[in-house]
């Protein structure tokens, strides 16, 4: 009698394990990172355009009075608003920690750019590495976002 009870309990445990495994498998798929977000893609692309427009404008103003930081305050204000919106949206999405960190770094870079501009007009020599680094940052964010489409990245 006791032996039968033990055998019965063992088979229940096996059945339980099988049911757990089957339910995990039938849960279909694993998702380790957030889904693609079109609004993030669009907003980051738009911000990249704004930054590039700024660089092109400043390049054309070399040696002119308009090259000063004070004449470009609106760019810095607009880009701060844009990056804040991107960050808020990124934080609202689940499993999106990597993108959140990347956007945080971009925000820091924009702040550093502002500090740099306050020190004096940006020359073509200054702008070349800035453009390259900002484009690397934007490309990285967009590359990951597009890869979240799972198969198109």
């Amino acid at each position: 009698m006791k032996k039968n009870i033990i055998l019965y309990l063992k088979s229940c445990r096996h059945l339980f394990v099988i049911l757990v495994v089957l339910s995990i498998i039938s849960g279909c798929s694993v998702m380790m990172i957030s889904d693609y977000d079109e609004k993030t893609d669009t907003a980051v692309t738009e911000l990249q355009k704004q930054v590039e427009t700024f660089f092109v404008t400043v390049e054309s103003q070399v040696g002119l009075p308009e090259c000063k930081y004070e004449d470009h305050k609106s760019f810095y204000q607009d880009s701060k608003i844009a990056i804040s919106a991107i960050e808020v949206r990124a934080r609202a999405l689940p499993k999106n920690e990597i993108t959140i960190k990347m956007v945080g770094l971009l925000n820091d870079s924009l702040n550093s750019l502002e500090e740099l501009h306050k020190l004096g007009c940006l020359t073509p020599g200054h702008i070349a590495p800035l453009r390259s680094n900002f484009n690397s940052s934007f490309t990285a964010i967009l590359k990951l976002e597009l890869a979240k489409k799972r198969g198109d990245g």
């Binding site: 089957l22 694993v30 990597i98």
Partner: protein, 109 residues
Amino acid sequence: MSIDVADIAAKMLEAFKGQLTKKWPEVKVYAETEARKLAETLVMIEKLKLAGEITDEQAKLQLQIQKNACRTVFLAIEGLGIIAVEQAINAALGVLKDAINTALKFPLI
């Protein structure tokens, strides 16, 4: 019901490796391209400093932006790697599901 565990495990591993093999070259190309660009940009900043075209403070801010760009690229590589592993795991799970349904001769899962 006959499920050959060794056979399924081998097929799952193949599916897993297949996905990673497919995705990793793309990640590698991206990583190599960006590494080269970042190195060239660092050289630009160094040249500006050595030529006296930027002050210490300006160099510090340029390098901060450079550092942020490097970290962002590394984060992208990390994320691409996670997605590749995720797709590999799902490919392996797909093989397991098919094997179980085939052995049972009906779509249990």
